[in-house]
Symmetry: C2
């Protein structure tokens, strides 16, 4: 399944999920992709300022995990678009619940737009 992961911590679905996106940046990238950002530089210029080497690495991992698909949309000069697969889009409910928790328990957090929380554009 995921060749870059040497050992599984367990077969718990939560743990297996966290082994893919349980870090400081991956879900932020996914949030941006869900919000319609598509290119490397759009992702790099989000307010959280992910370091570019981290962004590149996480995008490669997400591609290897079939969570995003990288597609060339212009050849000269080469320009790429990162798009969510179904597997990637399926993370929206988890993001929604995290956002709900954040809004409830962390002060002064942004309220995501309705289409995000409802999951229909």
């Amino acid at each position: 399944m995921s060749p870059h992961k040497k050992f599984l911590r367990s077969r718990c679905p939560i743990v297996n999920g966290l082994d893919v996106f349980g870090d400081k940046w991956t879900l932020v990238i996914l949030r941006d992709l869900i919000c319609g950002e598509e290119t490397y530089s759009e992702l790099a210029s989000s307010p959280e300022r992910i370091p570019t080497n981290r962004l590149a690495e996480r995008l490669k991992m997400l591609e290897a995990e079939n969570i995003v698909k990288k597609s060339l949309y212009q050849n000269k000069p080469k320009r790429y678009r990162y798009l969510l697969t179904e597997k990637g889009k399926d993370l929206l409910p988890a993001l929604q619940e995290i956002a709900r928790w954040g809004n409830k328990h962390m002060e002064d957090t942004w309220i995501p737009p309705d289409w995000f929380m409802q999951g229909k554009r």
Copy 2:
């Protein structure tokens, strides 16, 4: 030791949430607490084998964040119980969605018991 939450990456509720539990171990600890584990050694002996220094550090952080409450239930010798606060229990929906995603997209993952996925004991 990290004086945690020194700077906010943004006011995004997802990002603020991840700044608390967006690492490899915190949600695993929360999963165990939700599943009824209560003591340090119960948590330490979960199948994922969290290193004990990490466990101690994360528990302190979770206490500081008001996500767990540490209570002395026996004085000689001192024995403690870690219990979820409401803020901690409110993370269950996020864990459920992560588990749902894991079960759908990761092979051979355990199916959590019904009370866990339904959120009623």
